[in-house]
C-alpha cells in the first residue's frame, strides 16, 4: 500500500513538473490582434506576411481581420471603448488626431523595431512621416502614401482638338475656358458631360482638394497646434470664391451632380483630379485611354503643391500590455520591410527609398514628382464635425448663393468653437 501511494505521488509530481516545464515555455505565448481596412489587392499579401511572421516567431499567434472601410472607424472606436481594441491597426491620416488626444497610439518603440533611433528610421523613409508626428515624436509607420493628380480622358480631349500633354492648364485661372470646351450641355445649358469638376460629394476627396487649394496661396484652414481656425482671410476668400464661381458663374459642375470619380470612370467626365496612383488599374479596367497631369496651381500661388497627400499609418495600441506592444512593434517592422512587395502586388506606394527609386512609366512619374511637393491636410480632432461645417458652409455659398465673406466668417467661428471644445477636453484629460 505504501509503495502504491509513493508511486502515485511520483507520477503526480512528475506530471506537475512536466506541466510547469511546458508552462514556462508557453508563458511567452501571446496573440496579436491586427485590424486593417479593406483594400482587396493588399489582403492576400497581408496574409502571406502574417504566415511568414508566425513561422519566424512561433510564440506569437496572429489574429488578422479586415474591416470594410465604411464600418472601420466606428468599429475601431467601439472596440477601443470597450477595451477590446486591436493591438495593431492602420488608419488614414485624416483620422489619427483623435487617437493621439485620447492617447491610444503608442509612440514608436525603436528598440523593439530594431532601429537604433529615430534617425535610423527616417533614413529608410523618403517622406510621409510628418503625418504621424505628434509633439515631436513618431507614432506609427506609413504603409501607403497617396496623392491625387489629374487624369484626362484622352478621347474626349482629342475630340475637341486639345492635347492633354500640351494644353492641360498650368493655372486654375485658365481652366474654366478649357473645361468649357470639353463640356457638353443640353438645351437648358445643364452640363450633360462635364469637362472638369471637383469631387464635391466625397468628404475625403473634397478635403484633400480644398485644403490643397488654400495652401497653394499660403492660406490654411486651421492652426493645429493652437487649436484655432485660420480660415477667414482675404486670400482664402478669393480661393473659395473660385470654387463657388466654378459651379455658379461658369456652371461647369457643382455638388448636385454625380461625384467626379464615378462619372470619370463612367465616361461622363473629361478630367478628374481626385484619383491617386491606385486609380491606374481602375482606368485600365474601365478601358479609358488616359494621361496623368499635375494639378493646376493658382497664378499667384506661393506654394508649389498639387492636391494633398494622405497616408495610411500602422499603429500600436498603447492600451495593450507591454509584452504585446513589443511584439506588435516587431510585426510592424517586419511588415514595413515588405514595402516593395506591397507596391508591386497592390499598387500601394510606400515612401521608402527602395520603392521610390522605381517609377514604372511617365504617368506614375507624375505622381511621384507631385508627391515630393504635396502637403498633408491639417489634422483636426473633430474631423467629422469640421468637414460637416465646411460642407454646410460650402452648400450655403454654392447652392444657397450666400455671399462668400459672410459665410466664411461664420464658418470660421463654427470651426473655432469646435476646436476650442476639443482643446478644453484635451487639457482636462491631461490634468
Amino acid at each position: 500500500m505504501k509503495f502504491r501511494h509513493f508511486g502515485r505521488a511520483i507520477l503526480v509530481g512528475a506530471a506537475m513538473l512536466v506541466a510547469t516545464g511546458l508552462g514556462n515555455a508557453e508563458a511567452q505565448q501571446l496573440t496579436l490582434k491586427i485590424w486593417m481596412h479593406e483594400h482587396p489587392p493588399r489582403i492576400p499579401i497581408d496574409k502571406e506576411i502574417v504566415a511568414e511572421f508566425e513561422k519566424a516567431h512561433p510564440n506569437i499567434k496572429i489574429q488578422y481581420d479586415v474591416l470594410s472601410v465604411a464600418e472601420y472607424s466606428t468599429k475601431l472606436l467601439t472596440a477601443f471603448a470597450s477595451g477590446s481594441g486591436p493591438d495593431v491597426f492602420n488608419q488614414t491620416s485624416a483620422l489619427v488626431a483623435q487617437y493621439y488626444t485620447s492617447r491610444i497610439m503608442a509612440p514608436v518603440d525603436y528598440a523593439a523595431m530594431g532601429y537604433a533611433d529615430e534617425k535610423a528610421l527616417m533614413a529608410v523613409y523618403s517622406s510621409g512621416l510628418n503625418g504621424i508626428r505628434f509633439a515631436g515624436r513618431l507614432h506609427g509607420i506609413p504603409t501607403e502614401v497617396s496623392n491625387y493628380a489629374c487624369y484626362t480622358n484622352n478621347a474626349m480631349w482629342k475630340e475637341v482638338g486639345l492635347d492633354p500633354n500640351k494644353d492641360f492648364p498650368k493655372t486654375w485661372e485658365e481652366f474654366p475656358a478649357i473645361a468649357e470646351k470639353l463640356t457638353q450641355r443640353d438645351a437648358n445649358g445643364v452640363p450633360r458631360r462635364r469637362g472638369f469638376d471637383f469631387n464635391w460629394p466625397s468628404v475625403g476627396a473634397f478635403w484633400n482638394s480644398f485644403n490643397a487649394l488654400l495652401q497653394q496661396r499660403g492660406g490654411s484652414l486651421v492652426d493645429e497646434e493652437a487649436y484655432k481656425a485660420t480660415f477667414d482671410t482675404p486670400t482664402n476668400q478669393r480661393t473659395v470664391q473660385f470654387l463657388v464661381d466654378w459651379a455658379n458663374k461658369y456652371r461647369l459642375g457643382g455638388p448636385q451632380y454625380t461625384d467626379s470619380r464615378t462619372d470619370f470612370l463612367g465616361g461622363k467626365l473629361a478630367t478628374d483630379c481626385s484619383f491617386g496612383i491606385w486609380g491606374i488599374p481602375q482606368m485600365h479596367a474601365a478601358k479609358i485611354d488616359f494621361t496623368v497631369r499635375p494639378a493646376p496651381r493658382f497664378a499667384d500661388a506661393t506654394s508649389d503643391n498639387g492636391m494633398n497627400a494622405y497616408a495610411y499609418y500602422m499603429m500600436v495600441n498603447a492600451r495593450s500590455s507591454p509584452a504585446v506592444q513589443k511584439a506588435a512593434w516587431t510585426y510592424v517592422r517586419y511588415y514595413s520591410d515588405q514595402a516593395a512587395r506591397l507596391f508591386a502586388g497592390a499598387g500601394l506606394f510606400v515612401p521608402r527609398q527602395e520603392v521610390a527609386a522605381k517609377a514604372v512609366d511617365a504617368n506614375s512619374q507624375v505622381f511621384l514628382n507631385e508627391l515630393k511637393k504635396a502637403k498633408f491636410p491639417p489634422r483636426v480632432v473633430g474631423y467629422s464635425q469640421v468637414t460637416d461645417a465646411i460642407f454646410r458652409g460650402r452648400d450655403r455659398m454654392v447652392q444657397g448663393g450666400e455671399p462668400v465673406a459672410k459665410v466664411m466668417a461664420e464658418m470660421n467661428k463654427e470651426i473655432d468653437a469646435i476646436l476650442t471644445r476639443e482643446r478644453a477636453r484635451a487639457e482636462a484629460m491631461r490634468k
Partner: protein, 292 residues
Amino acid sequence: MRGLTRLHRRWWGLVFVLPVVAFFATFSVFPVLFGIWISLTDYNLLDEPLWVGLANYRNLLDDQLFLTAFKNTLVFVLGATLPVWVLSLLAALLFDQAFRGREILKTLFFLPVLPPVVVVAVVWRMLLHPNGVMTWIAGGHRGVTEISWLASTTLAPIAMIVVHDWAVVPFFMVIWLAGFAGVPKHLREAARMDGASSWQVFWHVDLPQLRSTAVLVAALTSINAFQTFTLQYAMSPDPGGPANSTLVLGLLVLKYGFQYFRMGDAAAVSVVMFAMILAVTAIQLGFNRRGT
C-alpha cells in the same frame, strides 16, 4: 385554508408582471436616467466621461446645427400634423360614404401604410431624382428636364413633408373611420328625421362625438412627427440635406452620437426632444380633458 390560497394566488400576479417590469427597468427606465447623466458629461467613447454639468445644454443655445434642427423640426411637425389631420379626416369622410367600388379603392388608398418607412424613403428618393419621374410629371410638358427636389434648400423640406403625409394619411383615416363607427347611429338618424342636412348632421352630431378621436389623431400625428428621422436619413443625398435644410432633431441625435461621437451632446439634444414631446402631448391631453 381558503385565506391562505387567496394570499398565495395574489402574489402570482406579481410573478406574472415581474418579467416585463424587470425588462423595462433595465432597458427603458435605467437608460433614460443614464442618458440624462450622460447629457451632463463630455463623453467621446475613447476617454472616460468628463463631468461638465449643464455646459452641453448651454452650448446648444449657441449651436447653429441645433438651432437649425430645432427650426426644421418645428416646420416639419407643422407640415406633418395639420395637413395630415385635415386630409385624413376628409379621406375618412369620403370612404365612409357607400358607393360602388369603395372597398377596392379604399384598399388601394391604404397601400402607402404597408411598406416600412425606409422603403417609402428609398422609393421616393428614386421618384424625386432630379431627372426622374416627378420632374417629368411636374414639368415635362413645359420642357423642364431637371428639378432638384432633394438638393434644393426650399424644395427638400417640402418634399419630406409631402412624402411623410402621403405615407401616414391612410393610417389616420382608419382611425377616423373607427371613430365614426363609434358614433351612435341613432343620434344621426334622429337629427336627419328632424330635417338636418348632411353637413349639419356632421357638424352638430358627429364632430362633438369625435372629440376624443380628434385629439387622439392630433396627439399621434405630432408625437410621430417629432420623432421622424428615418425619412430624412434615407431620402437626403447626405443626411441633413442641402445646407442642412432637412436636418431634424432626431437626425441630430444620430449625428452627434454616432458620427461625431459626442455622446454628451447627443444625449442633451435627446432630452430636449423628450421635453418638447411631453409638453406638446400634455397640452393636447389638456384639450381633451377640458372638453369632457
